[in-house]
């Protein structure tokens, strides 16, 4: 018989080993459908690795793609730690992006050191307020936040389409439904001239470090963890559970909103309804791969971004569908979940009768 014995502490090496093992397991599992299609498995994976990190340009492209994923990964990590199941980062990202163009595309004229922070704060607030709605529905009415955040994603996307075809449409864009471009003063500068990599990456890394310090070193960070581990015990201990939940909602939604600001103000320059190819949902995978650790989100986001960038490049080279990337990511999520059992439990083999 097999028994799961809970571990009091998990050694760091084991956490790392499980994450890396899950990544490898995901590649192995993806190889099965890939082989069934008759594609050259090893060539495909080698081309993916090359496309993701084969040279400086590829690596910069991967880091560019990782930037929004760090933000949405942090959004999921902070929420899931408190057992707030925010599946709405996609919608919050678009809310942040909408706020970015609303504030940064000409409404306010100010120098960059005023306008950039203003746009970022506005985007974070937009995402935060959007998540506050389901949090209040949960704490006041007991409505499950999973369903509400999921459905809000669809509502927000329709709202964005409505704005882009109506009041916020750029008349200069030859009929395409897109917003006016953000002003130069609202743009996040590029990190290296000529490349797409921008200051959003630095902000994302700062956000990860800040969140790590907040969770491990502050009273509210402790309350947040306590609520996540056992809400009822936290309530008996006199912790303000409702307030803690609201704070988590503001943080998580704000981080997802920043993902939208970073994509618009740092990369695209304007807003279209296809800004995000599912960064919000991928953030859940990133957070889970990182074992909900804010610092772990950075390498996890780079891994997921590398899979997507690498698959695009591989797909162009040998014509295997780039949906392969989605497969790797889905398998990685499930593998790391199963692997997580190893970090939380010791697996003990007990002979029948002796237990």
């Amino acid at each position: 018989m097999i028994r799961f014995v809970p571990r009091a502490r998990t050694p760091l090496w084991l956490t790392l080993a499980v994450s890396i093992g899950a990544g490898l397991a995901a590649l192995a599992l993806t190889a099965i459908p890939l082989a069934l299609t008759g594609a050259p498995v090893f060539t495909a994976f080698a081309l993916m690795a090359q496309g993701a990190a084969g040279n400086g340009f590829a690596l910069a492209e991967t880091l560019t793609r990782a930037t929004p994923l760090i933000f949405t990964g942090l959004a999921a990590a902070v929420a899931f730690r408190a057992k707030l199941w925010n599946i709405g980062a996609e919608g919050q990202l678009y809310a942040g992006a909408l706020a970015t163009v609303a504030l940064g595309a000409g409404l306010i004229e100010a120098p960059a050191y005023v306008l950039v922070p203003l746009v970022l704060i506005g985007a974070a607030l937009a995402g935060a307020v959007l998540l506050l709605v389901p949090v209040l529905f949960k704490t006041r009415f007991g409505a499950d936040e999973v369903v509400v955040t999921l459905l809000l994603n669809f509502i927000v996307l329709l709202f964005v389409q409505m704005m882009l075809e109506g009041p916020m449409k750029d008349e200069m864009a030859l009929g395409w439904p897109q917003s006016a471009p953000v002003l130069d003063e609202a743009t996040l500068p590029k990190l290296v001239a000529g490349w797409r990599l921008h200051w959003g990456l630095v902000l994302a890394i700062l956000a990860a470090v800040g969140l790590h310090i907040f969770i491990t070193r502050t009273v509210w960070g402790f309350r947040l963890r306590a609520v996540g581990e056992n809400a009822r015990a936290a309530r008996y201990a006199g912790l303000p559970v409702g307030k803690a939940m609201a704070l988590v909602g503001l943080l998580s939604g704000g981080l997802a909103g920043l993902a939208g600001a970073s994509e618009v103000a740092g990369l695209k320059g304007y807003l279209t309804a296809d800004l995000s190819p599912g960064f919000g949902y991928a953030g859940i995978v990133v957070a889970t791969l990182a074992n909900l650790s804010p610092l772990g989100v950075i390498p996890a986001a780079i891994f997921v971004a590398g899979v997507f960038v690498g698959a695009d490049s591989m797909s162009r080279a040998i014509g295997v569908s780039n949906y392969l990337a989605d497969l790797v990511v889905a398998f990685a999520l499930l593998s790391v979940l199963v692997g997580g059992l190893l970090t939380r439990f010791r697996i003990v083999f007990v002979r029948r009768g002796t237990a």
């Binding site: 199941w85 009415f141 409505a143 459905l151 497969l327 990511v329 997580g340």
Partner: protein, 314 residues
């Protein structure tokens, strides 16, 4: 104004209501079966996609239509087995595992479609279910034209409502299924297997969800499109709470939703140009959230929902 009310008297509107409601009936039945046994199945959105593709692909490759339905159910059950094994004996987070199953099922379906049809401009089509030819009722005014637009697949959905209601309420199996979602210790004490019952329920529920997807490609349309599920699965999860986990009310919720969706499509054409179309498209989602918030306080959740059960451990 009168035009907006006039819609309700059109047979076309009621026929569309049934057509929109049918996949949701399957989805809500599937979700409530899983949840009655204590397992939240957020794999639903992806299982819809996988059911839509696999059923359609089977027919495209030469199987009869009902063969495609069976294939879809089998594929759904397979994803249910995956979700069940991960969440029941292993006790992993039902939320995150469900999202993982959705991602996996969706990406497998999309990848599979791209592999099977690498360079098609227009999606390949099949000959879908033909409308029913109902002998006596078909002659009736108003009812006749509504029925004449439905297929055997919709009849199957109604049959599943009755069948599931009967099994849950009147059979020892139904009693065991309900108990396993309320009080698994009691089920174990009866000498039944909690793990077996829960996995079985998730597999059967996922098979029903896949039928919802297959209805779209085999009856409502005749081809597979990317993004054709578009949140229908999530809507079913909301409707399940609205339905208080009862098959009869699930039918009612799905029909209400179908009517609302069919209505907004028609009002949209009347109000076209004045009110942006997106406002109407938002309505079904807003309706789902409102329904959830309204009933959430009174909702009689299965007591062991989302609580993993380990033998010999309290």
């Amino acid at each position: 104004m009168w035009e907006a009310l006039d819609i309700l008297t059109q047979a076309n509107f009621w026929a569309a209501t049934l057509r929109i409601a049918t996949p949701l009936i399957f989805g809500v039945l599937g979700a409530l079966l899983c949840e009655r046994a204590g397992v939240l199945n957020l794999g639903i959105e992806g299982i819809f996609v996988a059911g839509a593709l696999s059923g359609w692909l089977a027919v495209y490759l030469g199987l009869p239509l009902w063969g495609g339905v069976l294939v879809a159910a089998g594929v759904g059950a397979a994803f249910g087995l995956l979700h069940g094994v991960l969440t029941v004996p292993l006790g992993l987070s039902q939320h995150v595992t469900g999202i993982g199953v959705t991602l996996l099922a969706t990406s497998l379906a999309y990848f599979g479609y791209r592999v099977a049809f690498p360079n098609v401009a227009t999606p390949p089509r099949i000959e879908p279910f033909a409308p029913l030819d109902v002998p006596v009722l078909g002659e009736l005014p108003f009812i006749g034209p509504i029925l004449a637009q439905q297929t055997g697949f919709t009849v199957l959905a109604f049959a599943c409502v009755g069948g599931l209601a009967f099994v849950l309420a009147r059979t020892p199996l139904g009693l065991a299924l309900r108990a396993v979602g309320d009080n698994p210790e009691a089920v174990e004490a009866q000498g039944l297997s909690v793990v077996g019952l829960r996995i079985g329920a998730v597999m059967a529920g996922s098979a029903l969800m896949a039928l919802g997807g297959a209805f779209l490609t085999l009856s409502a349309f005749n081809a597979f499109y990317f993004g054709m599920i578009n949140g229908r699965g999530w809507v079913c999860i909301a409707l399940t709470v609205f339905a208080s986990w009862r098959p009869g009310k699930a039918l009612l919720g799905a029909l209400l939703f179908g009517a609302l969706d069919a209505y907004q499509l028609r009002v949209q054409t009347i109000a076209g140009g004045v009110v942006p179309s997106q406002i109407f498209l938002m309505l079904p989602y807003i309706f789902s959230i409102a329904a959830l918030v309204l009933v959430a306080r009174r909702a009689d959740y299965p007591r062991a929902l989302m609580k993993p059960y380990f033998k010999g451990q309290r």
